[in-house]
Amino acid sequence: MTSRLRRSFETTCAAVPRGLALGRLVGVGWRTHLKHESQSGFVLLVAAGLPPLYATIAFYMLESGKQSGSLLYGAIGAGFMGVWTATLFGSGAAIQVQRWQGVLELHVAAPAPFFVPLLALTLATATTGLYSLAATLGWSWALFGVSLSIQHPGLFVLAVPVAVLSLGALGLVLSSSFVLWRNANAFTNMLEYPVWLVTGMLVPVALLPSWVENLSWVLAPTWGVRAIRAAALGGDSLRPIGMCVLLMLVYAAVGTLLLWNFERLARKRATLSLA
């Protein structure tokens, strides 16, 4: 009994530094990729240039129409649309880009599990979406006089990173499934609008056909934008934050399984470095 306890204690002690090392790897990878992404004109345009334009369209449509409501509602939605776009374009092509850069084999051969550096990359692409949120809120305040008074600042500060992390985990699923599909690049172009639509970024899900609501539940952007909106405009943001955390764990598990399958197939067919 004593020896079993000792072995268990030793295993736990050995796991703690490994867990810390992997956590550090995610942190360093995230910072490196974030710096790298922030140098790209395309990433900056997608993250910070286009969402304010979509916010402008939303404002004029909401103002020209008969819909009453807060313009902050539209600003948060348009800003979060940019977070999704950054995740979609950044994470969707993550493995393919690693192939082109010639670092995919090094990542797979490294002692750390492959999902760790990839998670760092997808988290970094989702984080660039924060530029979008900041740019859109700033644009809305400066040009349209949108009041940026946040009802629950504490929950807002919690909701934003949780929403971004959940999209980063969704990015892991995208990157690990898109890699097996050669035309994923074209597919990412198609997925931008439908996810904006079904996750209620600007259009309430209740306006859409009922089956869309079930689909929206399994998509983290639905809960991410709800959490941020509820924190900013008032309402229950803890439940959507909880859903973001739950979906993040599910995505991490699914992404890891898909990556394991990709790695197995790539090793078996010797296609790891095929760009």
């Binding site: 004109g41 997608v46 334009l53 369209i57 020209s64 129409g65 035309n183 639509l197």
Partner: protein
């Protein structure tokens, strides 16, 4: 005859070689899926905002999506020469530049027309949008002129790719900017005067206005001035595109940057 051959053959060959989305597995999601979802997104946003009926958004977006082929296609078709490493041999050839590059725009004009037709069909199938049979032919003319105008504009944007590397950034910015200033999803009268002016000199604006008028029962005669304005905008961009080609070609030769990727 030789000029016609250069116009058509080089256009088709360039389209097949440089248009990355030509295969159906790319074409359907990128050229049809994305634009159709754009129509649905704005139609539902229109329902939420209670700005106007579905037809307003179908006309606006189904005509504006000619820019997918006109701008992104032309950027691939023209700026793609640099990425493919064929720009230097192309510019070293004695072929007439105008014929060469206008030949490249023809497949994208047809493409734009097709994408727009699919957009209208999707609006008819999925949204509350109906069109009188008598309006079909004039609307086809409007879409054709708008697609030509947009392709000429895409030629000008694509020519920037002969000079700079981040041309897709410009293309995305221009495409999304058109959604703001061209009256695609809300009346341009609400915009500041400067933005309205930009909208008037961009393709699509006059085409969309003609399309909506035809949908409301106007005759071809009523919309002819707008169609003429759309054509004039396209013609102006064709001239600008040629001038840009000549300028960028000279500049790239002077700086030795033709093969820079």
């Amino acid at each position: 005859m030789k000029t016609l051959r250069l116009l058509l053959v080089s256009g088709v060959l360039s389209y097949r070689a440089l248009f990355n989305w030509i295969h159906p597995t790319y074409y359907v999601p990128a050229m049809l899926g994305g634009p159709i979802f754009q129509i649905l997104f704005f139609a539902y946003l229109g329902r939420f905002s209670r700005l106007d009926d579905d037809a307003f958004f179908v006309f606006g977006n189904a005509i504006q999506i000619v820019a997918v082929a006109g701008i992104f296609g032309m950027v691939m078709g023209v700026a793609g020469e640099r990425w493919a490493g064929t720009l230097s041999p192309l510019l070293a050839s004695p072929a007439n530049r105008a014929v060469l590059f206008f030949g490249r725009s023809l497949p994208f004009l047809v493409n734009g027309l097709f994408v727009s037709v699919c957009g209208f069909a999707a609006g008819w199938l999925l949204l509350d949008f109906r069109l009188e049979a008598s309006a079909l032919a004039p609307l086809a003319l409007v879409v054709l002129v708008t697609a030509a105008s947009c392709t000429a504009f895409g030629l000008a944007v694509g020519s920037v790719g002969l000079w700079g590397r981040e041309v897709f950034v410009l293309a995305n910015l221009v495409y999304t900017g058109m959604l703001v200033v061209c009256g695609v999803n809300f009346p341009v009268g609400r915009l500041p005067a400067a933005a309205q002016l930009v909208g008037r000199v961009l393709p699509v604006t006059h085409g969309i206005r003609s399309g909506r008028a035809l949908g409301a029962g106007a005759s071809v005669g009523d919309v002819l001035p707008d169609i003429a304005r759309e054509a004039a905008v396209g013609l102006a961009y064709a001239v600008v595109a040629l001038a840009l080609f000549r300028f960028f070609e000279r500049d790239a030769r002077r700086r030795g940057t033709l093969e820079r990727i």
